[in-house]
Amino acid sequence: MIRVQREDFDVGTELAKLAAGNHQVGGIASFVGLVRDIAPKDSGAESAMTLEHYPGMTEKRLAEIEAEAHRRWPLAATVIIHRYGRLEPGDRIVLVGTASSHREAALESCAFLIDWLKTEAPFWKLEEGPEGAKWVEARSSDDARKEAWKK
């Protein structure tokens, strides 16, 4: 299940849905991404950010990434929720949840989904730092983590 939305989400509720009515699920793995405060500690300020995305393509890419996880692992259910708009430190950005009979499948596919999403889903972060707004640069370590899943 894919959702792209401005609103916050409830982690417990979303994860519970993954096993609702399915008693073959033995494990649910999840990852929640939060906005980190990048302002210097002594600045007294907190650094918000704005997430821009490409409506339409975002949903399409996320659905493809989710389908790829289901091809690779025996998954009972998955959820990807990604927010956009203005977010403050501590706010939830993204939830990835995977449910399977086997904990290995749940854990590995959860890591796979967040790694792929980071390099595939068309989102861009504009951080409000102490010296003004700045677009976050992509990290080569994220590309490396994605590439590792191709092996």
Binding site: G33, L51, E52, H53, Y54, G56, M57, K60, R61, H82, I93, V94, I114, L117, K118, T119, E120, A121, P122, F123, W124, K125, L126, W135, V136, E137, A138
Partner: protein, 83 residues
């Protein structure tokens, strides 16, 4: 052809989207980028660092030799930073 610009490409070009009549010699993504650069200094500045420009045609990531044609939705944006 519908053009979409995101993040700092949107800011540098100065608009989020536009519909353009592309000349007939523009048949591939690379040619489209070259032609866009010729439209003005805002485009030239935005597209200068070509490595940092990712392209999607009809919402799929594509390379510079991918064909483009009238009616396509072509998006230009920097490497993604979600998650």
């Amino acid at each position: 052809m519908k053009l979409l610009y995101f993040a700092w490409l949107r800011q540098k070009i100065g608009k989020a989207e536009e519909t353009l009549d592309v000349p007939p010699h523009v048949k591939e993504v690379g040619q489209l980028l070259d032609w866009l650069e010729s439209l003005g200094p805002n485009y030239a500045t935005a597209l200068k660092e070509r490595r940092a420009v990712k392209v999607a045609v009809n919402q799929d990531y594509v390379g510079l030799t991918h064909p483009v044609k009238s009616g396509d939705e072509v998006a230009l944006f920097p490497p993604v930073t979600g998650g």
